[in-house]
């Protein structure tokens, strides 16, 4: 019988990195080494510990990484608590890739890109940013605006400092919500920072973060003259099958797991307000 997407592969956790107090990044490879499967930036995978639970996570590593996949996971439920407690060498089950991806090879190609992320929202965008960095010639200006509650809550801070900020080809703007010792960067909420920075409306925007941040950022962008067709985001909904059959992530005629999770805001506008 053919492989069925509901039957998962085995992945081995080879590295666990404590990113923030409640976010860890897990490196997953196939038991034989190498990646379990290929994906495009923005796509997701179903991770599970049998008997504990299964959930969808966006793949935070770039497809250009040929050795492993990474997942940045915030501790919030039963499964994530378990994942946070495990040690290196633990096997997990993994299936995917699921969902659409950011249109990095089509609509985004050649465009100036503005990434706006808040908190754990950087996770799905990190995949795109690194993909873009690795295919730098295909894109115009790249700007990243990233904020979090505090310095400690910035996911992948080390990579941001060591690689992104060191990369002359991209502009990185960091902010934290409240002043903090040892932080001489910008202080303030992401939506306000975006307005302050007043990015050019020629840019295509990829935004991800908590719903309230997205709401105000979008409003701010509109004030600045951006249109909904310029802004992409990625959604999170309860999913079970990952292939648009189980019905759980159905909104209007879309299935987030299959038709999403990446949507342009004008597409989202056509959907019923149920997310």
């Amino acid at each position: 019988m053919n492989n069925d997407t509901l039957i998962p592969y085995i992945g081995v956790v080879t590295d666990i990195r404590q990113d923030t107090p409640d976010v860890k990044t897990f490196r997953v490879v196939s038991p034989d080494g190498g990646k379990v499967f290929e994906h495009m930036p923005g796509q997701c995978a179903m991770l599970s510990i049998p008997g504990v639970g299964e959930a969808m996570f966006s793949i935070t590593s770039s497809p250009t990484n040929k050795e492993f996949m990474e997942f940045s996971i915030k501790k919030c439920g039963c499964l994530t608590t378990w994942l946070h407690a495990m040690d290196v060498g633990q096997q997990i089950t993994i299936r995917g890739p699921y969902g659409n991806a950011f249109p990095v090879e089509t609509d985004l190609k050649g465009k100036d890109l503005l990434f706006i992320a808040g908190g754990i929202g950087l996770a799905p965008l990190r995949s795109v940013i690194n993909y873009v960095r690795d295919n730098r010639a295909n894109y115009g200006d790249v700007q990243v605006i990233y904020g979090s509650r505090s310095k400690d809550d910035l996911v992948d801070y080390q990579e941001i400092i060591d690689e992104w900020m060191a990369d002359p080809n991209i502009e990185v703007n960091l902010t934290i919500d409240n002043p903090q010792e040892g932080w001489d960067g910008h202080v303030g909420f992401v939506p306000n920072y975006v307005k302050e920075l007043n990015p050019s409306t020629s840019k295509t925007v990829l935004v991800c973060g908590p719903p309230i941040m997205i709401k105000f950022t979008l409003a701010g962008l509109k004030e600045l003259g951006f249109t909904e067709t310029q802004v992409y985001t990625t959604m999170e909904l309860r999913m079970k099958c990952g292939v648009g059959k189980c019905g759980r992530c159905n909104i209007g005629n879309k299935y987030v797991c299959k038709d999403g999770p990446v949507f342009r805001f004008d597409q989202l506008g056509e959907l019923p307000d149920e997310y």
Binding site: D4, L6, P8, G51, C76, T80, K245, C246, N250, I251
Partner: protein
């Protein structure tokens, strides 16, 4: 058309079940009909339809997907799939026959659901035309002719004989396997019976219900309708409608720890359940109104939007007679309809 005398039905069933598993609707003690694996002596039910729909044959209420063995940090994945045996479902009504087409659109769409396909490939659907439709029937609304059911092969009765014809290769193979019992018959009387059935279908109370005003383009006007509150207010949030429905296919995937391994299985789920969309950090459908709306919007708007106007309902009427509070798709359609 080929036929067999109705009093030789036993022989027909014996012949079919000799080569493969046969399921026929039989009467239960409580008067309701249900599909049973044929055993000698069983009588075909004369009821209009089975209490449960026929979807169970291809999409059972629970099914084991995969097993895991956990040992230290290691996980072993055990593929539990087995090639299905060949089987025949006999006596499927037109509405249920159409439901398979609808389920196919979900489960056979890429990526194909191998569990469903496995059974679909091995199952032959032999339908049976209706003769005495009930007041709850409204298959006509969805373009289904109860007197001419779809399926791999179809049967019709004129009161004396059972006529049988193939609709496809699988159906033909089925007829070939029993051809020794069949003889060519005159369909004149049958045509009269079918004409009469169609007359009755026109007289049914729901005969005039149409889908003209529903479909994929009606999303916003129906989604935002102010009728949902009133319609859903007495909904108990149970799963009866979903589970008796031949087209509802939402499912959940769960793990069961047997003590010596994990069984991952899927089971029917209902969008009417309060925890259907519940996540660790919230629920986008908080009230029964939203959950109730989802079920009907899906059948009447979302499904047609993705499937060339085909609706997610076949008018079998099960939900009409089984809903504990008698709220159903017909009432919803009538209340919502914007001309």
């Amino acid at each position: 058309m080929l036929k067999i005398s109705l009093d030789k039905l036993d022989k027909l069933f014996e012949a079919i079940s000799a080569s493969q598993t046969l399921y026929i609707p039989v009467d239960r003690e409580d008067g309701a009909a249900e599909y049973k694996k044929y055993e000698s002596g069983m009588k075909l039910s004369s009821a209009l339809n089975t209490l449960r729909s026929a979807k169970d044959f291809f999409f059972p209420q629970t099914e084991n997907l995969v097993d895991f063995k956990m040992e230290g940090k290691n996980i072993e994945v055990i593929d539990v799939r087995e090639e299905s045996e060949d089987f025949v479902i006999f006596g499927v009504r037109a509405c249920d026959a159409r439901s398979f087409t609808i389920l196919d659109k979900v489960f056979l769409a890429e990526p194909v659901d191998s569990y469903y396909k496995n059974r679909r490939d091995h199952g032959t659907v032999v339908t049976m035309a209706c003769a005495r439709p009930a007041e709850t029937c409204f298959c006509g609304t969805f373009g289904i002719d109860a007197a001419a059911p779809e399926g791999d092969a179809a049967c019709y009765s004129d009161g004396e004989s059972l006529f049988i014809e193939a609709h496809n290769e699988k159906g033909q193979k089925f007829i070939d396997s029993i051809s020794s019992l069949l003889e060519e018959g005159d369909t004149a009387k049958l045509e009269a019976v079918r004409a009469k059935t169609r007359e009755i279908l026109k007289k049914l109370p729901l005969a005039h219900l149409t889908t003209d005003n529903f479909g994929g383009d009606k999303l916003n006007e129906y989604f935002n309708s102010d009728k949902w509150g009133e319609l859903s207010e007495s909904c108990l949030g149970c799963g009866t409608c979903t589970f008796v429905c031949p087209t509802c296919q939402c499912y959940d995937i769960k793990d069961f720890n047997t003590g010596h391994g994990i069984k991952r299985y899927r089971c029917w789920d209902s969008c009417m359940y309060s925890d259907f969309t519940k996540m660790a950090h919230g629920n986008p459908r908080l009230t029964q109104l939203e959950r109730f709306r989802q079920r009907f919007m899906h059948k009447l708007v979302y499904f047609p939007a993705n499937n060339n106007g085909e609706f997610g309902c076949v008018g079998c009427g099960r939900c009409l007679s089984k809903c504990p509070i008698s709220m159903n798709i017909v009432k919803v359609m009538k209340a919502l309809e914007v001309k």
